[in-house]
Subunit: 458 residues, 2 copies
């Protein structure tokens, strides 16, 4: 087939929004290790998980056999508000870099939450509503997940209680107002409103908070409040499942033009975007139908893949959640205070951890000043001001494209542009003022986190 | 033709981006009155305008005979970054209101400037670059225009100096950072950096600024700096011309589904969005080919159409600009300090003023608490957090849809959703906290502004 002139933005029809999520675990030979009950150290059952998560989400969490799971019609309808998201050919960036590489990005920022998080938020809110719950609790770091969940809860008239990592709460007052506009309540974490929050504050006065800590608080409130459950925006199998819409749409759009990516790049904090973007491509790779280089990009200041241990660990700082086997820096790890964006979780999705452990994907870490440099260049030529998190993927996509410039290779690069940086202007200001610094934890820093890993790994 | 099921979002192909702007003045029997030279009170010639505007833009400003003007290829290419913009069927809003009306909105907020302003910014930057200029100066109120121009100037490597109305500068620090990220310099207006700024500060110490005042400062700097010209984001004929892409795309999208709007609604400050949205529809109306109800919506606190005088007035507070015949509150008019959004210009596009004067369109004014009420409801059901300015149109679209609910009429309503409110969270916070107030100027307030109208009107 002759190469068709590819438009700047490939939009699918609404009828092409996926009606089934793809569950990559079904195609994995080595399944991700099960969650463990922290009391018994035995695999969590549906019954164990029921007080924390909605029943249908528990079923999705534990399902590693069905490759496809139907998306309820009401969720597909909601998706139509902002999906299909565009797959954009980065013609302007290619020209600016002078690269023979062909760069595509799947842009998930064209909705008010500003990121891909809405894909899972609406699913989780839907199942909570279906189960007749009154509300949900959650944590948020950079704020995209909390905003997404607020929007989803408002749509289904559910109460929404958000614990926001304190450093983000302070740096992003306007994120809070968006959540409030959608009817959510927002509490900076660690807070005095929970037992675990009070404990952490007593042990670490002046802490700027962490996702692991905010999770503990949200779980505590969910478990102790009638008619509430806890929902999480990343890390979990169910979240990766919901986020598969990103990869499914991207693959459909590429196939329309007969394009096969050589390299697929995504930023990784807990793994929701990366896991969603790569899932159908990884499926082909697992089934031996195709091969791709798949690259996770993480901050050098929170390097779970590249410097963490593959071990069972607590998912939260308060150690009230189940244990997951994953690449982790230890549940007590908190990134240094100068870390500007999200991607600050101490662990990583079990599914992605297993895939990485099995050599099916790579990981690199990058420092934040070089990330903001890439973000600024991208903003100026592509016209989208990216979120700091997404800019980790931009950095590496640009690096790969520059390698192609040296070698003359016309590689096709696909990366995930998870969201916009409109609520990250404090970080951009720091960069604009030349005040941004990097920090790479020393081995001693990391040793402290590892010291807190549970004995089960011995 | 049987009614096709209409998608939530109608996206045109990139090949359907207009390649010609439509100049509504060509079809007007009563042409807008010419700009007058403030020194001679004679119509401004191209020569008079050349020190202020680029040559090609001067030609566009004065051209009231050519119905179509070619869009240079480089501008069409830039448009592909973010255009065609979607035409959205407000199914969720219709359902929430329980109206038989069919509501469509043309959404111009899916770009980093957050509004339609980029449509004219890129055109003005292009012609400035083509003329070999070093840079441009401008004013910005709510901040969308300044951001749009920063993006456009960055693309063409032009220097960009922005005077930002002081109240917005203070309420929107992050807007400034977006502009800086795109390489612009931003000065709060009135400032001590210009003669006219110092004069205004001396006369009105503590003023929160106005667009008219920021214009005077920007013009002063442009005229006195080698290689610079002034650009304006609204009011002018050239801007309405560039913004015609909004209406042209909307009309093409509607025609694909055989839809003819009954009512077309847009917010109006200087008139750029409204003028652009309605232009091709107004063209049909002027040529007697179709009829539409066309409604301008303005803030009750800055009611140039509904309570202003149709008279020659200065376009700026400092009275350094040409005089325009328009609906005006007087160039000294400054909206009360509790006015939260944009739409704070004292006058109105000459073209729209003439059309309104000739009875070809209507105007209504609305108070801001009712505007934010509409904005919140819209955000919750349609998933887009709208700009305060755009929400004026939402308010009236909802009111019209609710009238249909009473009468049972299935009217088709089209409105312009000019942008997003991500940088307006201070105003939303005020609303969320129940602190937002309304202010409608008294006749005495308005009389003060009218007292400053130039003698030429006598």
């Amino acid at each position: 087939m002759p190469e068709t002139k590819i438009p700047y933005k490939i939009y699918l029809d609404e009828s092409e929004i996926p009606t089934k999520w793809y569950n990559v675990r079904a195609d994995m030979k080595n399944k991700p290790a099960p969650l463990l009950n922290p009391a018994t150290l035995r695999p969590m059952t549906a019954q164990d998980l029921a007080p924390v998560f909605c029943d249908e989400l528990v079923a999705q969490e534990l399902n590693d056999t069905d490759a496809y799971i139907d998306i309820p019609e009401e969720i597909v309808n909601f998706y139509k508000m902002y999906r299909p998201s565009p797959l954009i050919r980065a013609y302007f960036l290619e020209k600016a870099l002078g690269t023979p590489a062909k760069i595509y990005y799947k842009f998930e920022g064209n909705n008010t939450s500003g990121s891909h998080k809405l894909n899972s938020a609406i699913a989780q809110a839907y199942y909570a509503k279906k189960q007749g719950l009154k509300g949900v609790t959650t944590e948020t770091g950079a704020g995209q997940w909390g905003t997404a969940l607020s929007m989803a809860c408002s749509y289904f008239d559910l109460d929404c209680k958000v614990f926001m990592v304190k450093v983000s709460y302070e740096q992003k007052p306007f994120r809070r107002e968006v959540m409030r506009t959608y009817g959510a309540s927002v509490t900076p974490s660690p807070s005095e409103t929970t037992e675990v929050g009070r404990k952490i504050l007593a042990e670490h006065p002046g802490t700027t908070g962490s996702l692991g800590c905010a999770i503990s608080e949200a779980v505590e409130v969910a478990v102790h409040t009638e008619g509430y459950r806890y929902v999480l925006g990343s890390v979990l199998n169910q979240v990766l499942l919901h986020q598969s819409v990103i990869g499914l749409e991207a693959k459909t759009a590429l196939e329309k033009y007969n394009i096969k990516p050589d390299i697929i790049i995504g930023c990784a904090g807990g793994g929701s975007n990366l896991g969603g973007l790569i899932s159908p491509f990884m499926g082909e790779k697992l089934r031996g139908e195709a091969d791709y280089r798949i690259v996770a990009v993480e901050p050098a200041s929170c390097p779970s893949f590249t410097r963490g241990k593959f071990a069972y660990d607590f998912c939260d700082t308060g150690m009230v959640c189940p244990l997951a086997k994953m690449y982790t820096l230890g549940s007590g790890f908190i990134p240094s205070a100068n870390h500007a964006g999200g991607l600050r979780y101490h662990g990583m999705s079990s599914t992605l951890s297993q895939l990485y452990h099995d050599g099916l994907m790579e990981a690199v870490s990058v420092e934040q000043t070089s990330v903001f440099e890439a973000a600024e260049q991208f903003a100026r030529v592509e016209g989208i001001l990216p979120a700091p998190e997404s800019s980790h993927a931009i950095r590496v996509a640009m690096d790969e494209a520059l390698k192609c410039k040296e070698t003359g290779e016309e590689k096709t690069i696909l990366f995930g542009l998870t969201g916009t940086g409109y609520f990250d202007m404090v970080a951009y200001q720091k960069y604009n003022d030349g005040q941004m610094t990097d920090y790479v934890p020393t081995d001693e820093d990391l040793a402290k986190g590892f010291a807190g890993l549970p004995d089960i790994n011995l």
